[in-house]
């Protein structure tokens, strides 16, 4: 069953992500993913997070698909104009990559290429419209295209943002533009997420709640100091401070959050920065997702 069918099945969907390598050596990444063969419904391939140069997410999506997974290609508006974005969408379709997570993209201020120029010709909402337009057989210029693609289009949701009003309005804009699923930024405060969902109001669009595998107190503090829109509560940071086995604590914390979140969401999206996909089966077991 592919990701789109899993979304429609009504059971809790499981996704994870992988950051393409800096270079051409895919061996570690692909080996890490092989640990979760048959355990997830889709794998997000990130598009140069923090504006650091990485291998093309589309190329890596194809490689991930060859392993038997259903890739979810992330595309940001930071590095391409509307021509290049639409070209990427058409190319993804012919390469068998049909699940998309369409994003505005991180700013370039923390890039490993200081001085790089960002594009942002489109934003996430207009990029969703572009994908849906191509499906209907026309590009953003209003021109007909020959051979329309077919996508499962998703968008991001940032429930930790304060105040929440603008984020909720934007979520509804994304729904209007044609998103058919949401994946959220990492959630560490379940009560606050529940209140966000209540404020947002009922939607038929499935929401896949994001959890992030933290593996040390240092990483937790780094998130709090450097990652906008993500706040890790003090009690969780303390758990890592007091832990003799931070990796085990990371699995426990992630599983605990996933167990609570699955009750209010259509799925769980397990994010990480390193090749620790081998811990996913444990997270799923402890969160009673298998």
């Amino acid at each position: 069953m592919g990701f789109r069918d899993a979304l429609k099945s009504g059971r809790t969907v499981i996704t994870t992500d992988v950051i393409p390598p800096k270079g051409t050596d895919l061996s570690k990444r692909l080996a890490s993913l092989q640990e979760i063969s048959g355990r997830v419904d889709g794998i997000n391939i990130t598009d140069m997070p923090s504006a650091n140069l990485r291998m093309s997410a589309l190329a890596m999506s194809v490689k991930v698909r060859e392993l038997g997974f259903d890739p979810i290609l992330q595309i940001t508006c930071r590095d391409r104009n509307r021509l290049s974005l639409q070209a990427e969408l058409l190319g993804a379709h012919v390469l068998g990559v049909s699940n998309l997570l369409l994003l505005s993209g991180d700013d370039v201020d923390k890039s490993d290429h200081p001085g790089v120029k960002s594009v942002f010709d489109l934003g996430s909402v207009t990029l969703i419209e572009a994908a849906r337009g191509l499906e209907k057989g026309h590009d953003l210029g209003g021109n007909a295209i020959k051979g329309a693609p077919d996508f499962c289009v998703g968008a991001a949701l940032d429930p930790d943002k304060e105040p929440q009003g603008a984020e909720i309005d934007k979520a509804w804009d994304k729904i209007k533009a044609g998103t058919e699923f949401f994946q959220t930024q990492p959630i560490f405060d379940v009560a606050s997420f529940a209140s966000f969902l209540e404020k947002m109001g009922k939607t038929e669009v499935p929401i896949i709640a994001g959890v992030f595998l933290i593996t040390s107190a240092k990483m937790a503090r780094f998130f709090n100091d450097n990652v906008p829109g993500v706040t890790i509560p003090d009690n969780i940071v303390r758990e890592f401070d007091e832990s003799a086995d931070p990796l085990k604590t990371g699995v426990e914390v992630t599983a605990r959050l996933a167990r609570e979140l699955k009750e209010m969401c259509a799925g769980i999206h397990i994010m990480m920065v390193s090749d620790l996909h081998n811990l996913i089966p444990d997270i799923l077991k402890q969160s009673r997702l298998v």
Binding site: D107, V108, D109, P114, G115, V116, K117, S118
Partner: protein
């Protein structure tokens, strides 16, 4: 200077729908020089709006005031005295002035009358042209006083593209910026300077990353 031009009257009328008393605020700075938003243009705009609204059977009251500059808190303060009964301010300044009024009068609806176009100069009476891309790190010393960032259609920094023909740009009837640079460097005997390869530009000095600031500690007034 900042060069601007009036929006179509219909668009302005649309933005003033439902308003019965409008303060038309001019600016005596750049937009007065480029004949878009000074005292004279404020008078013309206010009467055009009144006439159109009169014809539509929805009369409009206008108040006219032209500040020395809308981008200076000292002058913007003066507008407060004119706001009695006003529903909306129509700013005839550049985008800076519009935002400055909105910031200083948080309870007031402020709309623009102009489209802010570029940083440029008067070429002849009635013709203004862009000269500066406000990129934050001037390259004019390397390019003989002709800016490739804004005058080359592709902002190329190492010579012309393949579309430059007979000194003209491929996309506009303008002169090719790199032809201008080459000719000027040649006439000044500095062609060897053009052989130097310019590195990829540092766009972090430009507008990427949000609004920029210039801070001058030496002229700041404490307290």
């Amino acid at each position: 200077m900042i060069v601007a031009e009036a929006k179509p009257l219909e668009e302005i009328l649309d933005s003033l729908k439902g308003m019965s008393k409008v303060l038309v605020a001019g600016c005596g700075g750049c937009v007065a020089v480029c004949l878009a938003g000074g005292e004279k243009e404020v008078g013309i705009m206010a009467s055009a709006l009144r006439m159109k609204r009169e014809l539509a059977g929805e009369p409009l009251v206008t108040v006219e005031e032209t500040l020395t500059r809308q981008c200076d808190p000292e002058y913007v303060k003066e507008l407060g005295k004119k706001l009695d009964g006003v529903d909306c301010i129509l700013s005839m300044a550049c985008g800076v002035g519009v935002q400055f009024l909105a910031e200083h009068y948080p309870d007031m609806w402020v709309v623009p009358a102009l489209n802010t176009k570029f940083a440029g100069a008067t070429i002849e009476h009635g013709l203004w042209e862009e000269r500066c891309g406000l990129c934050g790190e001037c390259v004019l010393a390397q390019t003989g006083g002709v800016c490739p960032v804004i005058r080359c259609a592709k902002s190329l920094l190492n010579g012309p593209c393949g579309g430059s023909q007979n000194g003209k740009c491929e996309v506009k009837p303008n002169a090719c910026a790199w032809q201008l640079i080459y000719d000027r460097m040649k006439s000044l005997g500095r062609l060897e300077q053009l052989v130097e390869v310019a590195e990829a530009k540092d766009w972090s000095k430009s507008r990427d990353g949000g609004p920029r600031q210039v801070v001058r500690e030496d002229v700041k007034i404490d307290g």
